[in-house]
Amino acid sequence: MLVFISLFFLFPGIKAQTTYDSLNVKLPKHYFNTVIVLDAYRKPERNFKDTSDALSRRLKSYGIKQFSFSFYTPLYTSDKTTPDGTIRNTHLLLTANYLSLRPVFGGLTEHNLVKFGVGMRYVYNTGKKGVWFVDLSPFVTRDATYPSSRPYYRMASTIVYSHNVSDKFNWRVGATKSFMWGNRFYLPFLGLRIGRLDKVHISIQFPRSASLNIPMGSMLMFSVYSRPQGGMFNFSNADSLYFMRSTKTFHFTRFEVNSGFRLDVRLGSHFNFYVASGFSTRNNVMFYSDNANKRRTGSYNKYFYQKNIAPTLYFNFGVVLKFGKTRAYYNNKNIYDATDLNNTVNPNSNGNVQIPLTPKKKKSDLNLKSVEDLVDYNDF
């Protein structure tokens, strides 16, 4: 022991041997970027065809103006290498979203229905075939036009196990508590994907979406899709739509199934935008009184107004901002899958901006600055 200690002091070089850690080089901590999505959605006004009831005559028509802001940022990432060389990782993300919905009823003054939530996401990549995903999104809804209306606190959640049979085939199974279909529903989550996420692929994610995605170079992604859109909001009874005038608030719910195309344009590493349009079908509006549904823990079933509106066009435009640097995850199918899960469950799809698409080979793209990490001075 004494000999060892003396050697240690006699040869300080042993102590000073340089390692990767001693260089104190900073590596990005996370696999996920911080992403902000700004989304605008419009549906033009349509008159109610069936005006046999008094409320329809009063409301006259229905359209939608919607703006939303959603955000997620990684809080914690941990990597673990198993003895067989597999890298497992755990990710914790903070999410936030704000949505302003202005249902346009021709016979009423405009209401600004606001939804705001902050949540957490947990992703566990087993390093083999599976990825676990848990999302908890508590939120509050209120009619911002009438401050006297009551806010309502709700919780949406999702748990999914995603299994990557290969990079070209994936299935998912789980459960979700969602308000997207215009009510509080506890639904199974069932998903299937055929094709690589960075190539042409078909994805069916019940109850979220079904899409055919076609990448066109590294900058464009064209999709044909169908997805439900909706929610459950608090609506002030200032217009006395509900017969009990003492009731200040009731629940306004809406859903529609949007089928159309979407074009995602990746302008750079940090900025993307998308445009989407198509037909909005199964347009449904319902008003539920709070009193009649107070004791219900499942879906609401006592409504005082319900109307289906004829199909219409819709327009959607969004901007996606991506911040920060991430660890490399090229061809890491589980991280691609985790990114896709995160995107599928997000209220506003960001077009999987984190999954790199193969660029077209252009001579002009290559310059020394682009490859300085790849080359050594001996190459010159």
Binding site: Y20, V25, A328, Y330, K363, D365
Partner: protein, 155 residues
């Protein structure tokens, strides 16, 4: 008349939004933060080239890419660290500063060699020696392609 005015107003608004959007795009294109990242593109091409050349089986690919990415992250980080230290050197370099830079150079090369060895061993247990040779060849071929491309001898 009222209807026509409404349509005119709608067209005006649409044009305005379109113009603002175009100005926004032009502005963004001029900003370095929004410019297309050439390095990411080259990296994606390189990974694609290796993927095609090494012919990994799905179980191999599952384990290989996370380790290979980690290896690349580390190599890139230490090279960047060295490059930045050299770029940030003062014009009138003192002996002490020069000594520090020189030591950093040697240390970086040593650590780079250590990382190469350590990760090549890890990768070899995943894909075997034959495919490791294919990997080295693919990396070298891609580097030559890039160098030729920069020199204007693109094939």
């Amino acid at each position: 008349m009222k209807f026509l005015l409404k349509i005119y107003w709608m067209i005006f608004k649409m044009k305005l939004v379109l113009r603002i959007f175009i100005i926004f795009l032009v502005f963004l294109k001029g900003q370095p933060v929004f410019a297309q990242n050439g390095r990411d593109k080259v990296e994606a091409l390189r990974i694609e080239y290796i993927n095609k050349s090494v012919e990994l089986t799905p179980p191999e690919a599952e384990k290989f890419w996370p380790v290979y990415n980690e290896y690349n992250d580390k190599i890139r980080a230490i090279r960047k660290n060295l490059r930045q230290s050299y770029r940030n050197r003062s014009e009138n370099l003192s002996d002490k500063e020069a000594e520090q830079l020189y030591t950093l150079f040697l240390q970086t090369k040593q650590v780079e060699a250590d990382i190469h060895k350590q990760y090549n061993e890890r990768l070899k247990t995943i894909i075997g020696a034959k495919k490791m040779v294919k990997l080295h060849v693919a990396e070298e071929e891609f580097r030559i392609k890039v160098m030729k491309s920069i020199k204007g001898e693109n094939d």
